[in-house]
Symmetry: C2
């Protein structure tokens, strides 16, 4: 298992290239909520999400030979863009395998960072087969979206930056997809804010980690159903789950319907654009899922990449 | 005419109550634009626009007797909310005269800050008559939206904050409605950044100050036609124009159609919500209206209060 020093070391690597994202707050939100709440705005991160951190840290650790052969990732979302941008900065060839029905704007963004996009079918099997074939053929290194120590250490720098701006948190709310962000941040937080409770948040339609945490073993869902596209993983990774079991205090779920009012509040009152997955942890605070009052709370906004059509529907 | 010390004094008054808004930048924007560009994000100011600054500074200068009688303003936009919130913080009664066809969300926001809203007809005459009647009857103090020295000094604190974050600007782009923001900021900028050129920006459909600047006298339009609702004043104020003539280097215009791509870039790439008027100065930079390269440029985002329906249409 990685330690806080891996995260500190990742931060040394990342500091020159990441945005130090702000901790935002809203008087109105605090007044309505009854807590002192801060939002870590990773929607302002490069590529619009925290995923750039882990990808860049991972790529920084590759050997010269691996860099020459190039890297591959399968993702229809922010991981694709994170790997694409990090590869561009290192001058490494990146191949991204995406389902052929991916949102056009995400495909364009990934290509815009210079990655080669290879389309595949829409099932997990299609994606993995296409990726494996390309690895066999060209020797690319797979950049896993969450089950990787270098990646976890990179995502953990989010909590390191929170600590630079505020020292005494009572609660840290983190969204859970594959578990990369929460494993890195829980490990960092428990070292930096020993009194803070780390709370993972999922949507009910993708509650694999909620179930796994209670069962004390990884449970893999057959299918997921949620508007939070960053949470549509069937299970968390093994490396992630080890850390989650050790450092996370509780995992809770919210409904998809809790996401919309939070996204609207961010947009209309705080003037920031947050994607559905990015609003999940804040939404758990907004609905006061834990019934807390007078506490100092931080919720991580994981990203801000919203499809314009989706946004139109919310408005 | 006010001096830099009036603005510094306003900042002492405002510092405990305003948000110090960030200077934002985008690698992608800079790359496309060829300049080093910063956006002063007053869309993150309290009430969602710079207007709170001037209103609060003005109210801080009222006598005890004036405070007891209360204040009045006529506005369908951000000035209404600025006066409403400032009044609430001082415990002063505020009456806002609004056309009966005002956007519902702005009426609700104004009421939400505790102001009394009085509806009137839609013409300037209706608005002024209703306001004058109420002043005659109740002795309220009129808080003018731009033609007021205390107000101008308050708005000038925007430039003071820019100077706290960056010292050596080549250009400062400022939107012009009634002239409150640009007069305060031009005066401050010419003292703080003596080498910076201050450029005022209007839309073609509300180009009164553009015309006045060239004619060297205030020209009043018969009507305006622009989506930038904060620019729908028929002329700038006398106090504003004196300062503009002395300290502004040039005034340029853009088309309404230049506003949309800038708003979209802010939302989709920078994840922030900017209202049409707030995007006017940045849009002049985006289209490189002055054909500059390699310069350090700041454009002020005046506000972020967008009607959800309008936003839907843009998307």
């Amino acid at each position: 298992m990685i330690s806080i020093s891996d995260i500190e070391s990742a931060y040394k690597t990342l500091k020159p290239v990441v945005h130090k994202t702000p901790l935002l707050s809203s008087r109105t939100f605090n007044h309505l909520n009854g807590n002192e709440v801060y939002f870590k705005a990773e929607n302002f991160q490069r590529i619009g999400a925290f995923k750039f951190r882990g990808a860049y840290n991972k790529l920084s650790s590759l050997t010269e030979a691996e860099r020459k052969r190039g890297v591959i990732a399968h993702s229809s979302g922010n991981h694709a863009q994170g790997v694409a941008l990090a590869s561009k900065l290192f001058g490494i060839k990146a191949v991204i395998v995406m389902p052929h029905d991916s949102v056009k704007s995400k495909v364009e963004a990934t290509k815009g960072y210079g990655a080669e996009v290879i389309f595949c079918g829409t099932t997990t099997d299609d994606r993995e087969r296409t990726t494996d074939d390309l690895i066999d053929k060209f020797g690319y290194t797979l950049i896993h979206p969450y089950n990787d120590e270098k990646l976890i250490a990179g995502q953990g720098t989010v909590a390191l930056e929170i600590f630079q701006d505020t020292k005494d948190l009572d609660y840290l709310f983190v969204p859970i997809g594959g578990g990369g962000l929460i494993s890195g941040c829980a490990l960092a937080a428990k070292n930096l804010f020993p009194n803070a409770k780390v709370i993972g948040v999922e949507t009910e339609g993708a509650n694999d980690c909620f179930q796994s945490f209670r069962a004390k073993k990884i449970i893999k869902l057959q299918s997921v159903n949620t508007i939070a596209d960053g949470m549509r993983t069937l299970s968390v990774g093994m490396l992630n789950f080890e850390i989650i079991q050790k450092y996370v205090d509780n995992i809770i779920t919210i409904k998809d319907d809790d996401i919309y009012p939070m996204m609207k509040f961010f947009l209309e009152r705080m003037k920031i654009l947050v994607e559905p997955t990015g609003a999940v942890a804040p939404a758990a605070v907004m609905k006061n899922a834990l019934d807390i009052r007078g506490k100092k709370v931080c919720a991580i906004i994981s990203g801000g990449n919203v499809d314009p059509d989706f946004l139109k529907n919310i408005l």
